[in-house]
Symmetry: C3
Subunit: 371 residues, 3 copies
């Protein structure tokens, strides 16, 4: 582990921007050998299917009559039409065109007009687990699925916390999302929601497949908005440096977390989030986030305030979504990564995402012509 103990905010420790990287980060595919949520549990009803995508691969999620979810390649071996348009039949899926039928391992178990002894090959199946209200799929080498950990999210299951599930499609490479959340100097973007806040980074740490950074915040002017107080807790007096909350943002590949510890060591906010590429070019991701807020002493106070919190976080998320989509558009137009990063932890993060990502290069093209 690389520990960087000195604070790196302000001018004192800022390093020059990294030299031109060998690989364009925006063309590094996400590594498939991890567990990725592809849907919320409630999206896949009993006896129904749902067609989803991972980095361009079509995958059908099906919940059998017995309630188990399984995941297959979403195209019939026969004429390549999507199996999600078919029919769940007991513990199997029947293609909606000619009725070819596959069990939960992808084996073809029936072609209505063909003898059972001559059945063709089936389709690929994917390891699949259901946890925390999410359906996780392992899109990479299935032999590695058992040894790779699923995320451990104790706050989601702890009654001391209330959890909000949120997310949406965002039209950008997943790397922009990681950088957005980790670089807390972007508070200016949220000036309408947050007022004039300034982040101060306390230091960063890095391991082989993770990087994290600590922050405190100071209000430059104005009053703390109510929505923010709900999420982050009411702010302490200015200058009261020793009693500040500490926010830690961590990318533990391929997931990201943001935790706020109050000055007495209580975990007051615990966010887990992941950005799942949908298309082959990985220019669109579906975000799955679980935001757990510690319940205050007063019963039901958090439940009463919940609609305001939902509104506040949606507004923040909308601004972030908008700006990262602007970044992606700029990259598409420029055909290369022209970013000029001056904040060390972000350069570390970019390096990490490059190292942990897939080994291939996403074949994209410079967008031509339109303004």
């Amino acid at each position: 582990m690389l520990a960087v103990s000195e604070p790196d905010s302000n001018s004192s420790t800022l390093e020059p921007p990294a030299t031109a990287p060998v690989r364009d980060l925006r063309r590094v595919p996400i590594h498939a050998d991890h567990w990725y949520p592809l849907a919320w549990s409630k999206e896949v009803k009993r006896g129904r299917t749902l067609g989803v995508h991972f980095a361009g691969d079509p995958i059908v999620l099906a919940r059998s009559e017995s309630g188990t979810v399984f995941a297959l390649e979403d195209r019939c071996a026969h004429r390549q039409v999507p199996l999600h348009a078919g029919v769940v039949d007991g513990e199997s899926i029947r293609c909606g065109y000619h009725g070819w039928t596959y069990d939960c391992t992808g084996r073809c178990i029936d072609v209505p007009y063909l003898g059972r002894e001559r059945l063709p090959n089936g389709v690929r199946s994917y390891p699949c687990r259901e946890m925390y209200g999410l359906i996780f799929v392992f899109p990479g080498d299935a032999a590695l699925a058992e040894e790779r950990p699923l995320p451990d999210l104790p706050s989601v299951e702890d009654k001391a916390y209330k959890t909000r599930r949120f997310g949406r499609e965002v039209k950008c490479h997943y790397s922009f999302m990681h950088e957005n959340l980790m670089d807390m100097n972007h508070q200016f973007l949220h000036r309408r929601q947050m007022g004039q806040m300034r982040a101060r980074s306390l230091g960063r740490r890095r391991g082989e497949d993770w990087v994290e950074v600590d922050y405190t915040f100071a209000r430059m002017e104005g009053k703390q908005p109510v929505g923010e107080a709900l999420v982050f807790g009411a702010s302490k007096k200015d200058g009261d440096q020793d009693h500040k909350d500490v926010m830690t943002v961590r990318t533990g590949y391929p997931y990201q977390t943001l935790r706020i510890l109050s000055s007495d060591g209580t975990l007051v906010m615990d966010l887990w989030i992941v950005y799942v590429p949908l298309d082959a070019a990985q220019r669109t991701n579906r975000t799955f986030g679980l935001l757990s807020i510690r319940r205050p002493g007063i019963p039901f106070a958090l439940d009463l305030a919940w609609p305001l919190l939902v509104w506040f976080t949606e507004r923040i998320f909308k601004e972030d979504r908008w700006i990262v989509e602007q970044e992606q558009e700029a990259h598409d137009k420029q055909g290369a990564d022209w970013n000029h990063e001056v904040f060390p932890v972000i350069n570390e993060l970019r390096d990490l995402l490059r190292n942990c990502g897939g080994r291939t290069v996403i074949p994209i093209h410079k967008a031509g012509g339109t303004a």
Copy 2:
């Protein structure tokens, strides 16, 4: 002619799928040296034009003041703007921009600001015939137009039949349409309209530019829907094998027919259909179908039932359109034909469409990026 007398349904006669074809069928252009309908007669009013396309070639159909339809290249020789935006002037078309005028052979007969002795070259004209309420054009080598037959459709002109004209744009290569209609094992797709039907193929025959297959049908469970009884006739008692209707589906390049003969040899249903590629990539076709149903003994019974028949056939056609568009999407994404066909007549049909098609290869590209 190749006669295959043994029935080829069920496992007994199923052959292994054809080995990898030399040409991707979905990139075989339709052969231009045939008569293709490009519009319904009623779409081209007297003194008006209609812009249509054949495989990317823009063609203007114009009905002169005298009522004759003619077909020209749909762009002015001057500045390439579409002639269909111009004005029919007697037996000629005047371009809507600078008024260059072409007669029905495509010859330029007037440029308002130029002497008649210096008129420029004109535009291409196409052989054109009007029959059965359709406007047929010969888009290929005009020298072959006379010797190539127009379709012969006696049922359409026979008062013993009532004919429905239908069609719509379908976003797929024409070959998917031929395969869809010829493979009657796809009844599962129409399970909501048709109930549980099972096709049994009785045998197939093939000539140089045609292939056909006979079917009978058995109901697996449930009652016959009213719509189906109207189209196919009320079904006979189960097991009454000798009295079954026989359906023959035939591709006689480039057209397709589906005929049902009752057990007494009466032609009860007679469908003629063709799929005309619109764009250069031949990823969209316009379907023109003429469905003739024999009138029953009771006068006006068919006319009364007609709206139900329209509804029924529209529903079936909508399901077919949806599934072939799914097939095209899969092909676009995969960039190649991954079909794994197990039904012999369809492999014969694919071979036929390859052999009868144009000699070039449609230059398409693997669809990049989007999920």
Copy 3:
């Protein structure tokens, strides 16, 4: 200067079309070393920004608190997001993401979390002038800005004239616009607005960076419409050749003018117009036009008639826009310039636009596939 004194209309002086040009005119980029209007003054409010484009280059126009307009490259040096989404702060722009700040010369003057002694490089600035209600930018080599003239438009500032400002995005290469206005033989396009008019060209003249042509008009049949009379003046008696108004259309690269002089030498109509490419492929232009009409003797007559004049010119402009977009579509489909020009002044104009345009070739692709 090349003077061509003989009239070149009708067949007598028509030359053969130019031989195949070395460069496809539709792929000649407009020359950047001129002043181009990128917005109307009223579009850029005090303390606000406006994002515009010149030939694919994003440019932000900002009006500072003091009212001065300046123009910068519209992307932050940091993460390439558009500066027009930022905030005007006094005489500078602050990026909306992390707050990087640029002055009116493009220099980075603040990064909130970085010491002032370590500020990164800024962004490009563009010479910018505000005249006639337009914001002009010099997108080319800034060193040439001073020596290149801004347009001189006395009628716009003369109270004897009333000026209409108009324009819109048109989806075509700027060259189609120049050809459309200069070739008055296209009156047939406006037959619904103008009746049967015939232009007669009196002669053309050419210099190094300009070409112009004179016309008179004769009505072939019908009555003069009211809208036209307003714009061009009431027509004289037929055959009264000596008293005809003379229209002169001139391309003085990169601008275009159309002036009508009455028989007594009064300038009755004075149009200045320019077509600014927006996208890198220069397939879309934004048109800025200033149409000045001389006020008649009766006070307020022109003001009363103004709505009719607006309606009339909008109709004409809509027809022109439609036809040039058809021309562009044809070019995109054909991938080359198939125009077959027979009118000498247009061949001169095309030659001029080729010679005065940028030296590079716009990299475009033949549109594939769609009908």
